[in-house]
């Protein structure tokens, strides 16, 4: 009888330890792997070239008229500026949106699958009147276009 309870106890202990390891795994390890994928250097960079280097490993872009940036000429509220970046270029791998006037210009980087059409829309914050830059990676090359947006109220909200 005694030995039986002892066994049960050691068994429980063992399962607790195993359970603890499982929790540690799901809490600790997996998120760090996911966060590791987020290009921190790009988002922390204070200039456009640094931001592009951080996410695309290159900052030389070719200006292209095949990229269309849809954004208001005058943004009444810099905290919410709707932006659409689209292109006619083929084999687009990624679309990057930057706001040149912000402390950290990097706003968003979209990786697209081969079936995804090269057009994305979102809303960005703009601290002051500046350019929205759209950078597209197509066939391994970088293309860019920009559009100036006048901000009438500072957009540091949020």
């Amino acid at each position: 009888m005694l030995s039986n309870t002892m066994k049960r106890r050691t068994f429980l202990k063992g399962s607790l330890v195993a359970g603890g390891a499982g929790v540690a795994l799901s809490l600790g390890l997996i998120p760090t792997v996911v966060i590791g994928a987020w290009p921190k250097s790009a988002f922390k960079s204070k200039d456009v070239n640094g931001a592009l280097n951080g996410v695309l490993n290159a900052s030389d872009t070719v200006a292209s008229d095949k990229i269309k940036i849809k954004a208001p000429k005058i943004a009444e509220n810099g905290a919410v500026v709707p932006v659409t970046v689209s292109t006619d270029l083929a084999n687009v791998e990624s679309i990057t949106i930057l706001t040149s006037g912000n402390v950290n210009p990097m706003a968003a980087h979209f990786n697209l699958s081969s079936n995804t059409l090269p057009t994305v829309s979102t809303r960005v914050k703009m601290a002051k009147t500046s350019d929205i830059i759209g950078v597209i990676k197509a066939d391994g090359k970088l293309f860019s276009a920009k559009k100036s947006v006048k901000v009438t109220i500072g957009g540091c909200g949020g």
Binding site: V34, A107, V120, K125
Partner: protein
């Protein structure tokens, strides 16, 4: 939690996905007026979208994305009734996920 809203519509072989997420998106640059302390950054870092389990879009976001972010994109393929899943994760490790059928 229910922070995600999805609307996905298939038309002529192209699916348009529109999504709204409820999130404060704090930049970490702004100060609390009363205490003078910086409000810590809190923003979505990563957002992915899957169509029937296959990833069609994966984005990295920074704090310059507006509060309560809006996202829209299109992909080829997708039919009425197919499953669209959107997942996000923020810099504090919070996450949410929602699946919805294409209309």
């Amino acid at each position: 939690m229910g922070t995600i809203k999805i609307r996905a519509k298939a038309k002529k072989g192209v699916t348009t996905v529109k999504s709204l997420i409820t999130h404060p998106m704090k930049t970490g640059l702004r100060k609390n007026k009363k205490t003078g302390k910086l409000i810590p950054a809190h923003f979505i870092q990563e957002i992915t979208c899957q169509h029937n389990g296959t990833e069609v879009m994966k984005a990295y976001w920074g704090p310059s994305i507006s509060k309560n972010p809006y996202l829209s994109f299109k992909f080829k393929g997708g039919e009425k009734g197919d499953k669209i899943t959107i997942n996000w994760m923020d810099n504090k490790g919070n996450k949410d996920s929602l699946s919805k059928k294409i209309r």
